[in-house]
Structures are given as C-alpha cells and as structure tokens.
Amino acid sequence: MTTTETLPSAKTGIVGRMRGQLQQLLAFASLIIIVIFFAFASPHFFTTSNIVSILVAATVTGILALGTTFVIITGGIDLSIGTGMVLCGVMTGVFLTYWGWPLWAGVLGAILFGALIGFINGLNVSVLKIPPFIATLAMMLVASGLSLVISGTKPIYFKETPGFSSIMNLSIIPGMRFPLGVAIFLCMIAVAAILLSYTIFGRYTFSIGSNEAATALSGVNVVKWKILIYTVSGLFVGLAGVLSASRLSSAQPTGGMGLELEAIAAVVIGGTSLQGGKGSIIGTVIGALIMAVLTNGLRIMSIPQEWQSVAVGAVILIAVYLDILRRRGK
C-alpha cells in the first residue's frame, strides 16, 4: 500500500485502474498505524478474541455505512439510517413475536421493510425533489417515533423464535468464537463492492453523483435509478436492524440517533466525497474499521472516557489530513 507514491505516471490500462483503488489504500496506512500503535500500547489488543470483538462492534455500523456509500456517491445523504435501523429491528419483533411468522419470513420482511423506508426516501428525493438532507431528516424523526409507537415503548423479545439470536451470534468456526454476523458483514462487503464496481447500478451511481444533469440528458432515467439506489441502501438498513436485534436478542425501540453520523463518518473517512461522484466500498470498510479500532483500543487502554472522544476526533483529523497530503504529493 505504500508503493503508490512510487508508481510511474504512465497510465497503461491496468495501472490506471489500480491507481484509483490504491488511493483508498492510503487510508489503509492510517488504519495499520493505529493498529500497530495499540498493539504496542496494550498486550490485550492484538488478540484473536479482541479482533473478533472489534469486528462485531463494526458490523452494524459497517453495514449501514456500506449501504449509505451508494447514496453519498450520488451526492445525496441519508440521515434516517440510524433510527430506520431501529425501526427495522422493531418490525422484526413484530413479525416474529407478535405475528408469529417463521424465522426466514420475519427476517426477510424486516429487510424488505428497510427497503421500503429507502424507497420512500428515494421517492421524496427523486420525484418530489426534496433535498436529501431534509427528506431523510424527516424520515429519521418519523422512524424514531414509529419505533416507539409500534413497540409500545417496550423492547420486544424473541421468545417464539429462539433461533433468531443465532443470526448474529452463532459461532461458525469450531474452536473459535467467530460469529455468523461478522461473516454476513464480510459477505455484504463483497456484495456492495461488486455492485458498485461491476454493475450498471454502480456505474449510474457514479454518473449521477458526477453530473446529474448530464446523466439525465444522456438518456439515463435518473429518477428511477435514484429511487433504486435509496432502496438498496434501505436493504442494508433492514439487514443492520435484523443483526442488531439478533445481537441483543431483543428489538430495542430506542436509540439509533447519532449512528447515522458515525456511519457517514466512516464513509467520508474512507475517501468518498459528500459532493458525489467519488468513492469506494473498500474505503468505507477501512473508515468503519478505523472508527471501531480507535474506540476499542482507547477503551482497552482504559483512557478516561472524556479523553476518548477528544482522541477519536484528533485521530480522524490526522488520518484524513495525512491521506490528503499523500494524494497531493503524488
């Protein structure tokens, strides 16, 4: 990853392609430095068990960040992912516990409910032309209220479907506590990366973010694709809701507020531009990991909590600045 700077400027096809990928890997350098620092600072940091803990902690925010990467590349934003996720968790509870659906149907239903939230956001942004910030802020409020209303301000437990908590927690590697949820996260990374890089969906995501008017005049049905992009982001929100409810074996109707900023921060730290047109999945993953590693490492070091947020803020600033410096240096 440090070889980037020495790359020749001649751009044969492959090298040119790789350059884009490598730029994100520069954020990777920051991640590595942070990991090395904590590994030296605490003997308890670089253990298998703790690394799994970090991945578990990164899973829900990470999945939200993956989905919202698409939205941000279009130049939009989605503030509803945090409370939307909570609402999807509650819907899982409604489907499985209140309505007694079979496990697969409840999970699918909740994921599709996420898609519905995304679809409505997409309609508001794309058809009604409401600025994404406002449309999704409104959805954020609506979702947070509905979670409380639907659940009756009480957590919903999954008494009828004991298997539900396995979705996040089941150990899938014998002899090691590697939970299924993390594996799902890794799969979703692959899915998102393929979607963004190899499909027409990904291409249009970039085109719309790069120049929406020009894309529309090129005959692309921008309205339709934008709705689809928000809907796909909603699928990720739904999945995150299922996983977070599964982790806690209960649908908690509160919270979620603030999670959207964390997810968006992961995306932006990973080099995706809020102006749209630029971004990558690998960058988002690195961004999410930087956040998760920082939080975990500072806690392992027992840094007083009030100093932790100061440190996280400072490190984010430095990491992003170094990234900018190196890109400029090339």
């Binding site: 703790n50 803990s53 902690a57 301000t153 806690l248 209960s250 806690r299 027992s302 909590q305």
Partner: protein, 306 residues
Amino acid sequence: GCTDSGSGDGETAASGDKPYVAIVSKGFQHQFWQAVKQGAEQAAEEFDVTITFEGPDTEADVDQQIQMLQTALDKGPDAIGFAALDSQAADPLLQQAKDANIPVVAFDSGVDSDIPVTTASTDNKAAAAEAAKQMADLIGHEGKVALVVHDQTSVTGVDRRDGFVEYMEKNEPKIEIVDTQYGGGDQAKSADLAKAIIAANPDLKGIYGSNEGSAIGVVQAVTELDMDGKLTVVGFDSGKAQIDAIKDGLMAGAITQNPVGIGYETVKAAVAAINGEKLPKTIDTGFFWYDKSNIDSDEIKAVIYE
C-alpha cells in the same frame, strides 16, 4: 408573572373538569420511565385526575427538559410532578410555579430546592452501596471489578457510580476498581465497552452495570466472550432481559427501585397538594436487592417490571 392562569378555566389539554397534573420526568423511552408512567396512570385513574407524562430524549438534555417544564406551566396545570435533571437550572421556572400557586411534587432523584411540597425518590447512593456490598460478598471480598455506568453527568449516574465506588473504598481494601466506562445506557455500546474492559483485564472478577441497558450490555459481553459463570455481574433496575439473565445465572442479582411506586406516589401526593392536604417532606420509595433466591417472592414481584 403573566402566565396564562389555566387552573380555573377547565380547558386544559385534558378535557373535563378533572384536576390536571403535568408530569415532567427525566426520560420517557426507558422501561424504567415507562414503569413510572404506569404507576402515575394507575394513580390518576384511582384519584380521577388527568395527567400528561413527558421527558427529554436523553438524560443529558437539560435544555429540552426546561422547555418541557415551561410548556407544562403554560398549560396552566393544577399541579406539577417534576424529576429534575439539574435543580438549579430549573429554579426560575419552579419559582414561576410557586408564584402561580401551582404545587410541585418532586420525584425520582429529587429536586434540590424548597419549593416542592414533597419528594418521592430513591436514595441512589445507598442503593449503589448495596450493589457494591452484594458484589463484594459474591466475589469473596477480593479482586478486580469494573463499572459500566449509564451516564457520566446525571445525578443517577453519578450517585450510582459514587455510591458503589465509595462503599468499596471504605469497606473492601482488597477489591480494586480497575475501570469505569460510560455507555449511555445503550445495550450494544455497553456490550462493546464491557468487552474491551474484559479484554484489558483478564483477571477481572466482576462488573457492575448501573442501569438496565448497561447491565444487559454487560451480560451480552459475557455471553459473546463465552465467559458465562466466570464473571460476576451485578445490575440495576429490572426488565425482562434482566430478570431472565438472573434466572439463567448470567447475572448474580440486581438492585431494583420501585418505579411504579414512584409514579403512583407522585400523583397521589399531587392530588393531596391540590386538596390542600399536608404532606411529609420525603416519601422514600425504597430499593431492593433481588437475585435468583427471591425473584419469585411477592415482595420483589411487586417492584420489578418486565
């Protein structure tokens, strides 16, 4: 003041000629507060008054609570129930209530002022000390323990931390408190930080979680790390997950307050105040230690909630 004096016009937000009690609590989303609300509603039914119950989104939001109190005053209630996030911040408004002859009943953690006619509350420090005492007994009076607290600044957070820590410092020289972290009462966040504490202290004996979300988060961490039985978890408050954890042996036990009782007593006292009755300065609603042994007893069943 020029407050719209609503007490007489009978056109309060709630209909009819029933007396109206506006309750401004410290929260409304938590189970704990829902239980308080439940108790308040129970009393409202019984004494035939209308109530409204609201509280800020988080217990850090002093400003939001002040606004709610202001709005409650503007509605011209016959009495107010109030659990202050910060008593001093509320002082001008309490003064305003006094000027308008609206009696104020303080509840939960109390209001540090002369204005309230009475206070129905839990002694959180004493309750936390009880949790510490139980923890010390459970781990054999020596070893390392840590705290996962719901809040760094609210009175309940601070009291439940300090009550625990002070007890240990005073009475348990062989117990070392290695870390205190704050998870905002959020289960997932509390679980993640408890896991970090456990990772950093492999010889940790026990963790205390200072409210429902914190305690359940700690239990979650223990399960995720496959450490069931290797770590003593002591909690606070109740709720279904906590009751299950105690029954399953994942949690040794917990302190519960009497939230339904707090709500009930608050409204009851408000009605008495409206009727001009004399009230005691404090109404101690008490706290209880519960564990596997007494969880099904009638005494405990009355104060825990699912």
